[in-house]
Every structure is written in structure tokens, then in C-alpha cells.
């Protein structure tokens, strides 16, 4: 069995990021919020960030933070929920302005303007914008700690591989560029002036992007600096999904730090006389799957969070969840 989560954080000072992955509805955002709150109490400036386009941090902290930038909820505890649509709109405007400034024009040529408008509608735009915002936040190193949630499939996974892809691109472009310079210097002089310098700036821009993304990718795949958690509940489908996600992480060189088992009814309830049949059956089902979790994932389990009798929401309760999660030191099942 692994040690307490709090021990991990008191002995691994290099850890700067924690990621909670898992299927929807299992409580990964709650876990992110709980860890952030716990870290903030320990005096570390923590930023809790949601990559979920339907983020629920606003609901969890009972405060509308959507699209409002970073918000300090209490000392050292910062949260942020990105409004990707708004960000894209601002980004488009920035690009338009940049073109106007660069070429001293008042109006963008129609074709280019349409290109900018339509590019924003491209299916992956949301994802890229969120990713870029996140990479920017991490690169800024403004906070002591970053916590975010991530769906195990789809864009979360691609986010990690994208940096690698961009890397390949930039290498290729630099190579092309270098060769053009080596072999084509004479040609440059003959050719018209403007084109070459535009490409240099373009390459600079690309290198900037790579720096940002590369930093992000290094962080994510560095198990010293990033802790990766899976959130699971004691049910058949959740266990199956987790197994698949583990394979996927392994493929991406991501080391799993721990598994958090959530929404577990305390088994002590079974001893009580006033327990109804319904809840009894449910608890017994959970116990059955907990045995399976212990067998298959036991070495990873770092916290078991009980089912609460009300929805965990609000600063106070999230702090409580944080304490429970960080200090869990018990057993998954009865011997």
C-alpha cells in the first residue's frame, strides 16, 4: 500500500503539478478542488484549473468564476475556469489587430478576414485554445502549484502528444530554413526582399509556441514534478475504464502516482441495525468491487474518499474532503 498523500507532498518538493484523470461523474474536479484547498492551507499558492469545457469549478466552489480569469477564493487558493469561446474571439481580434499594425492598413483584406473568421469555427479550436492557455499558465510559473482535471480520453491525451508533434514540425521548419540559407543565399539576394524576413519572424513565433508547449510536455511526463492520479468508484464499469486508461498513460510515458477511490459508503454502516436493505445491498456491491480494486490496483490506491451524505460543495466542505483525501491511511477492504 502506498503512503498517505500528504506524505507524498511533504517529501516531494519538486512536485509542482497534480493531474486528476477519470471518467465524468466520478469526482475528479472535486478531488482537484480538494487538493488545491489543502495545499493552499499549507501556504502554497495553488491554482486549480479546469480543462473540462463544461467545467464545474463554479458549482463546486459556489461562485461564478467562469471566464473571469484567476480568482482568489481564500488565501493562496486560486481557481480558474476558461471561457474558450470568449478567448477565441479575443484571439481573433488580436490577430486582426496585429495584421493591421504590421502592414499599416485599416482594413484586413477580405480573403484573410474570412480565413480568420472561419478558422475559429474549426472543430479543434476550442481544444487548442484551452491547451494554449494552460501551457501559458504553467510556463508563467506564477504559482507554487497547479492542479487540474483531465478527461482520460480524447483531448486530454492529445494535449500531451501535441507538444511532441509541434516539436517535430519546428525541427522540420528550422531545417528547411537553415538549408535555404546555406544553399540559397545567392538566391535570396536575387529574389524580392520581403518574403525572407517574414519567414524569420514566423519561425520565431513558432519557437515561442514550442517553448511554451515543450515546457508543458516535459512537466507532464516528468514524474518528479507532476503527480498523476486516476479517480475511480467501486463499480464494474469504472474499473474497466480505469484499466484502459492505465494502458493509455503507459503508452504516453506517464507514470501513475496514485488511484483515488471515491464515493465509498463506510462499511461500518453494515453493522448498524437501522440500515435499510437497499443501502445494505449497495454497500455490499461496493465491497465486492473494492476487493477487485485492491487486487488489481491495490498498489496504486492512495486515498479512499467516503460517500458524503450531501454533495461536497463550498469552501468548507471541500477543505474537509481535502483533509480526508490527504490523510487517508486505512485499508481498502476488511481483511
Amino acid at each position: 500500500m502506498t503512503s498517505k498523500m500528504s506524505d507524498y507532498y511533504s517529501s516531494n518538493h519538486d512536485t509542482k503539478i497534480a493531474v486528476f484523470a477519470g471518467k465524468g461523474g466520478l469526482g475528479k474536479t472535486t478531488c482537484s478542488a480538494a487538493l488545491s484547498s489543502w495545499l493552499a492551507k499549507k501556504g502554497r499558492r495553488a491554482l486549480c484549473f479546469s480543462t473540462d469545457p463544461q467545467a464545474s469549478l463554479s458549482d463546486i466552489f459556489e461562485k461564478d468564476i467562469f471566464g473571469k480569469g484567476r480568482q482568489e477564493l481564500q488565501e493562496s487558493l486560486y481557481v480558474m475556469e476558461i471561457d474558450a469561446d470568449k478567448r477565441i474571439a479575443i484571439f481573433q481580434e488580436e490577430i486582426r489587430q496585429k495584421i493591421k499594425d504590421m502592414y499599416g492598413i485599416d482594413e484586413i483584406p477580405r480573403e484573410i478576414d474570412e480565413y480568420i473568421t472561419a478558422a475559429a469555427a474549426e472543430p479543434a479550436m476550442h481544444e487548442s485554445a484551452t491547451y494554449d492557455a494552460m501551457a501559458g499558465l504553467l510556463a508563467s510559473q506564477e504559482f507554487d502549484f497547479y492542479v487540474f482535471d483531465m478527461p482520460p480520453f480524447g483531448h486530454g491525451i492529445r494535449m500531451v502528444s501535441m507538444a511532441r508533434i509541434l516539436d517535430m514540425w519546428i525541427d522540420k521548419m528550422e531545417e528547411t530554413r537553415r538549408m535555404a540559407q546555406e544553399y540559397g543565399d545567392s538566391a535570396y539576394r536575387i529574389q524580392q526582399k520581403g518574403a525572407a524576413s517574414g519567414q524569420d519572424e514566423m519561425l520565431n513565433e513558432l519557437q515561442e509556441i514550442r517553448k511554451k508547449l515543450g515546457f508543458f510536455q516535459d512537466l507532464l511526463t516528468d514524474s518528479k514534478r507532476t503527480a498523476f492520479y486516476m479517480v475511480i468508484v467501486p463499480e464494474k464499469m469504472a474499473i474497466l475504464d480505469t484499466r484502459r486508461a492505465l494502458d493509455m498513460f503507459a503508452q504516453m510515458d506517464i507514470t501513475l502516482t496514485g488511484v483515488v477511490v471515491n464515493q465509498v459508503y463506510p462499511r461500518e454502516l453494515l453493522k448498524r441495525d437501522d440500515l435499510g436493505d437497499f443501502l445494505r445491498e449497495r454497500i455490499e456491491m461496493q465491497q465486492k468491487y473494492l476487493v477487485q480494486i485492491e487486487k488489481e490496483l491495490g498498489n496504486y490506491v492512495c486515498a479512499v474518499i467516503p460517500m458524503f451524505d450531501r454533495e461536497p460543495k463550498g469552501l468548507k466542505m471541500i477543505a474537509e474532503v481535502g483533509d480526508i483525501m490527504m490523510n487517508w491511511d486505512g485499508k481498502i477492504t476488511e481483511d
Partner: protein, 96 residues
């Protein structure tokens, strides 16, 4: 002319783009002709634009977020690029 160059171009086996480009340039340098340099310069321009703004041609390569970031720098080249791209081969050859 186009045919002669095809012969110089390396085969498309493994080696990857790097080798291909290198071999190509090697052959070119041996010839030591500015005309080739000029032409190469044009290829590279095509390549560069393809990577950044390929989706304008229906060949999306770079995620559009980054294409947009690069767009301002490409603005003056877009028109020329498109024009040069869609000329028939004979036409470009005739230019040189």
C-alpha cells in the same frame, strides 16, 4: 528540365525528409547553379506555406490555432504563393 531533376531527386524509401533534402541539395551544390538555388528557394517557400497555411488549400496540417498565430507574417506572401502554386509546371519552367 523537370525530368532531369527527377533523376537527381533521391528515392522515397526510408531516410525521411532530412535525408531527402540533404541529398537533393548535395546534388544541387555539385551543379553549383544559381538557377537551382532559386528554384529550391521556391520549393522551400511552398513547403513553408504548406505547413503553416495548408488548410487554405484544403490540406490542414498545423492545428488552426497555430496557423492563425502565424498568419500575420504570411499575409504578404499569400497571394503570390497561391498564384505560383497553381501555375502549370510548364509555366514555371518557362520562367527560368
Amino acid at each position: 528540365m523537370g525530368k532531369k531533376k527527377d533523376k537527381d531527386a533521391p528515392d522515397k524509401k526510408r531516410g525521411g525528409a532530412k535525408e531527402a533534402v540533404k541529398d537533393f541539395f548535395y546534388g544541387m551544390a555539385m551543379q553549383g547553379m544559381t538557377r537551382y538555388a532559386l528554384k529550391t528557394r521556391m520549393y522551400l517557400e511552398h513547403l513553408f506555406m504548406l505547413i503553416t497555411l495548408g488548410d487554405m488549400l484544403g490540406i490542414p496540417i498545423l492545428p488552426p490555432y497555430y496557423s492563425l498565430k502565424l498568419l500575420p507574417y504570411a499575409v504578404p506572401n499569400i497571394k503570390t504563393w497561391k498564384r505560383s502554386l497553381f501555375k502549370e509546371r510548364d509555366f514555371t519552367d518557362a520562367l527560368f
